[in-house]
Point group: C2
């Protein structure tokens, strides 16, 4: 798997052209088609892929969309010698990667993440899949793209809330494995970063994630560190997904990081000052997600259904200090309740 | 992956008990539930798995059944520390294996094949998946069970036509890699085989398949030999699946082996005597499948959609002589037409 760092979209097209083999099918959502993909392939005489699109949003990362994509590939008679290019955010790279993993028992694919979240997280590490009702990523596999193309120019089209979504994962990378990177991120204002600043930060995040994943691709041990903030974060995201006020993945994870930092204080020895540091930094950037006391039961039930949890106990990845993270730490429901309470009272 | 050869069903239960870990969910079809599974677990105080069932038949090896199985596992809160046991024929091991591969990005599973076809073929080699409309195994992956349990006692419940289905794959194993085995099979009458004869033949088939798969698990080269009879056979099976007279997988493959043997005469140098030997042996056992001249176009179209074919040409696994097989042999539509004609005129 090669990661390519590219500074402008015309160069992305050039690279895609050089990687072309057989027929190409692009998987993208309606929104990204309009904002990125159409411009990318505006010279059909040079590169004219088949394009499968689906309505944007996590709510469409379903087995139904998966099935429609398989239909599309079959209708276009794509073979194992051809390739898929996933262009879009994490929903697209998750869904498109799973389609590529399963279509004819796998055909090669390239990821072109266009959101910050996908650039630093979703498009790397091989986790692909779809949701199943309220259950996030319940259906999926581990499958690696042959190439991933990072071009920060795509970030220009993104509203701030989308940048924040990805930035949450970057903060996570700092908290779990580099206090130096955490300090750099704290002093970075995402509204004023130059493209080359972005490139440097994104590279550092990819480096951290890739190193962890290479040591433990199937998440038997160390890779579980990457779940910091996610046990609680996924529950929040799932719980609010079908509500009147769904939240972005990053906002859910940001809230999850605060709540799990509070849990880490009792369960992993994270000191109070670091919990406050994490809380302040995140509240400053993200504000709060709309949780109430009445949601706690449903959230804990969702955590129980989390695919990383045993049926009878909770296990979490929790920082011992900023830059060092433990995993498989046993946690009980009371600690979770107390941390949720801490969060809603902020 | 361990294969266990067991002589009686009470010992199967004993072995399953010793392999038990966490919660167990059995995946099986209605027919097999009645004929095998209910008797196997008739002492619920000793072993009382959750049982997911679906209507028997290739036509139910779909994404819908897959989705229902995922629902069932999620409702029972199965975790990655638990396990699935697939009990049944090839439809069940294909479907159940794919469910296990994708549920929470894979949980461990055990195969207990109860049909001859599944014992000698489907339950081994890691190919799992479901059909997509008329397209066989269009959605799937390569995933290996932790254990496979072979018990010929299950064959007692099977009608002859089901035995023949599996026997076709055994004949294939002989043709592609052992003339000695082919001769043994020719002199065996499937109606008069003792359980220990069955065990020996099944072991030899598994040995042949396993050796080929181990050399090339992802089917980049040598494994393609196992497709002998299947390019044409799958097309026949798919074509007739939704017709008034669907045929068993084995009958379709048997017909495919005759037709591909005829193609092999021109394309791989198989001598006429061997083509006749294969034809006579198969017609003797299987008779003919209901094909007419009017079906040729649809069959060739289905072969074009076959996941092993490039978009613009046909590639087949073809025997050069009995016991030696070539693969990726280029074949044109005219040769296929001529061989189909040979078959319908038999």
């Amino acid at each position: 798997m090669a990661v390519h760092y590219i500074t402008s979209t015309p160069q992305v097209l050039k690279l895609l052209n050089s990687l072309k083999k057989g027929q190409t099918c692009v998987i993208t959502d309606h929104h990204c088609l309009e904002h990125c993909v159409a411009a990318l392939f505006d010279h059909p005489e040079r590169f004219d892929p088949k394009i499968f699109t689906f309505p944007a949003g996590e709510i469409n990362k379903t087995l139904d969309t998966f099935s429609e994509a398989i239909d599309f590939l079959a209708q276009n008679n794509l073979s194992r010698q051809d390739q898929i290019i996933n262009i879009g955010g994490g929903v697209t790279t998750d869904l498109g990667g799973f389609v590529a993993a399963c279509y004819k028992r796998s055909i090669p694919f390239i990821n072109v993440p266009t959101s910050l979240l996908a650039m630093v997280d979703a498009a790397h590490g091989g986790k692909v899949g779809v949701n199943h009702g309220k259950l996030k990523n319940y259906i999926g596999s581990f499958t690696t793209p042959s190439h991933t193309i990072i071009c920060p120019e795509f970030l220009n089209t993104l509203p701030k809330e989308h940048l924040l979504s990805g930035f949450a994962e970057m903060l996570k990378h700092g908290i779990i494995s580099s206090s130096r990177y955490w300090d750099t991120l704290k002093s970075s204002s995402i509204e004023n970063l130059s493209p080359s600043n972005w490139m440097n930060l994104i590279e550092e995040s990819i480096r951290i994630k890739t190193e962890i994943v290479q040591n433990d691709p199937l998440e038997k041990g160390e890779r579980k560190k990457l779940n910091y903030g996610h046990t609680v974060g996924h529950a929040i995201e799932s719980h609010l997904l079908h509500s009147a006020s769904p939240v972005h993945h990053g906002n859910a994870v940001a809230a999850g990081m605060i709540i799990e930092a509070h849990i880490a204080m009792s369960a992993a020895g994270l000191n109070k000052q670091s919990v406050e540091d994490i809380t302040n930094q995140i509240i400053d950037l993200y504000g709060k997600v709309p949780l109430e006391h009445g949601d706690f039961g449903a959230l804990i039930e969702l955590m129980q259904a989390d695919k990383k949890n045993h049926s009878d106990s909770f296990r979490m990845a929790l920082p011992k200090k900023i830059g060092v993270c433990d995993y498989d730490v046993p946690v009980n429901a009371e600690l979770i309740n107390r941390a949720l309470l801490y969060y809603i009272n902020l």
